[in-house]
């Protein structure tokens, strides 16, 4: 399974296993064909998910490229049965989310001067007013996109996976490794912060995203 062990709280996923290109019974050309189908079918969804998690195009492109390469390396080690039973949508999303969280943890361990400049992520600025203006937002200059990036991490993941990634709540729960009830609650708290006119919506939070910090 790609989901991390479940408990009532959403645990932080453990580090991913190191990349391995295993010798598989499935011919490489077949793996390539499976991968390309998967890529064509899911790239927009996966990219949108990454873009709305990171809030920056450049970071999203790096994240997605790295995630698809990881996916390819995993696929190369799968046998036929594993390939046939694969649920690609949730599987790919889980790779992106885990990769993103790993990167954030790495970034947060760097000296503050480096991380606040090189990673102007909402976590470093979201106690300040006007976070919307600090985040590079996609063409339509969307305030909503900026507010998404200002959400606490778990709320952000839940809302992005559900409404940008278009995953059913059950799959969001699998990816996040927590019960559907927890996901629903994260989504409803996330949406509440995003509502127009909500005082301090999206920029105030520093309290309940703390699982990783």
């Amino acid at each position: 399974m790609y989901a991390v062990p479940t408990s009532t709280a959403c645990p932080a996923p453990g580090p991913l296993p190191p990349d391995k290109v295993l010798q598989s019974e499935v011919p490489a050309s077949e793996v390539d064909a499976v991968f390309m189908t998967l890529f064509e079918e899911h790239r927009d969804r996966v990219y949108s998910t990454a873009l709305r998690l990171t809030g920056r195009r450049h970071d999203a492109e790096d994240l997605v490229a790295e995630a698809f390469l990881r996916a390819y390396r995993s696929l190369s080690g799968f046998d036929h049965e594993r390939l046939e039973t694969l649920q690609p949508r949730a599987w790919l999303t889980a790779i992106v989310v885990n990769q993103w969280r790993n990167q954030r943890r790495t970034a947060s361990r760097r000296p503050a001067t480096v991380s606040s400049n090189a990673f102007p992520d909402a976590d470093h600025v979201d106690v300040l007013p006007g976070v919307e203006h600090r985040v590079e937002v996609h063409a339509d200059g969307d305030r909503l996109a900026a507010m998404l990036v200002g959400l606490p991490e778990r709320q952000r993941i839940a809302v992005v996976l559900r409404y940008i990634g278009d995953l059913p709540v059950g799959e969001v729960a699998e990816v996040m490794g927590c019960p559907t009830g927890t996901v629903k609650s994260l989504i409803s708290r996330g949406l509440a912060r995003l509502r127009p006119g909500e005082p301090g919506a999206g920029i105030r939070e520093a309290t309940d995203g703390g699982a990783l910090r």
């Binding site: 990349d19 290109v21 490489a28 050309s29 793996v31 390539d32 991968f35 390309m36 890529f39 790239r43 927009d44 969804r45 996966v46 990219y47 949108s48 873009l51 709305r52 195009r57 492109e61 997605v64 490229a65 698809f68 390469l69 390819y72 390396r73 190369s76 996609h138 339509d140 969307d142 909503l144 996109a145 998404l148 809302v159 409404y163 940008i164 278009d166 949406l191 509440a192 995003l194 509502r195």
Partner: protein, 254 residues
């Protein structure tokens, strides 16, 4: 808050889905092509980032083995291309790949320096390992230079076959000494002559009239008659006699 508010919000969120950038695939997938060369045909793998892998055709059983090795080494999918990147065929014909773009991203900085320096060796010429070591300001790293060249992911195009030992031996080649010899012969290098010169202690050759000292295979020497040539064991020896280093072959070493 009302359900209508949420519906409006959710539909606003769904608008934040956007298409992936068109060049995303190029960052993930590599392509391969078969290219004919004057001495040896090669398989070439490449992406937008440049050429990442070259394998002489005779050293694999076919495209399948080349692709398997590539996927294993680079961990990315490899699809057949319509043709090679621009300039590869010409580079094989002329022996100069200076205008090609290489993707050496998996290599260390040291390896990239070594390979970049090897790329500058013109066709028809050879250099000892120690020349590269001196050129990259790591004069004692001769053995490491050999190792880096041994791991050259883009042989033939980056001409590691033009690098030989300083003791009169041709040196190893990842795809066999036979192919190294063939490639050098194909470029017009008189391998036996060069090796015998080195064995006799002529690591450098001076043009007595022009007072210029060169590497033995420098093109400049083609127009210099035998009576005007003078062998030197070391560069210091030549400099002491008033010879200046050739700006073309840039002799470097002891």
């Amino acid at each position: 808050m009302t359900a209508t508010d949420d519906r409006r919000l959710i539909s606003a969120l769904s608008v934040l889905s956007v298409p992936a950038p068109p060049d995303l695939a190029e960052r993930i997938v590599a392509h391969w092509a078969y290219v004919e060369g004057p001495t040896v045909d090669v398989y070439v793998a490449f992406s937008n980032a440049g050429i990442s892998s070259v394998v002489p055709a005779p050293s694999v059983s076919g495209a399948g083995e080349f692709a398997r090795a590539f996927r294993h080494r680079f961990g990315r999918p490899l699809l057949a291309a319509d043709g090679p990147p621009d300039g590869v065929g010409e580079a094989l014909r002329t022996g100069s790949a200076l205008d090609l773009r290489f993707d050496l991203s998996g290599r260390t900085l040291f390896e990239q320096d070594v390979l970049g320096t090897a790329l500058e060796i013109p066709p028809g010429e050879v250099r000892p390992y120690s020349w590269i070591a001196h050129r990259i300001n790591r004069p004692r790293a001769v053995r490491a230079v050999g190792t880096a060249l041994g791991h050259n992911p883009v042989p033939v195009l980056i001409p590691c076959h033009r690098v030989i030992r300083s003791d009169g031996d041709m040196g190893q080649y990842g795809f066999g000494r036979g192919l190294k010899r063939q490639l050098l012969d194909g470029e017009g290098v008189d391998v036996d002559l060069v090796l015998s010169m080195v064995r006799q202690g002529a690591n450098y050759v001076g043009d007595d009239a022009g007072r210029v000292v060169c590497m033995p295979t420098c093109h400049r020497m083609l127009s210099v008659g035998g009576e005007r040539r003078r062998g030197f064991r070391s560069l210091a020896e030549a400099k002491a006699e008033g010879y200046r280093p050739c700006p073309s072959c840039r002799p470097a070493g002891r």
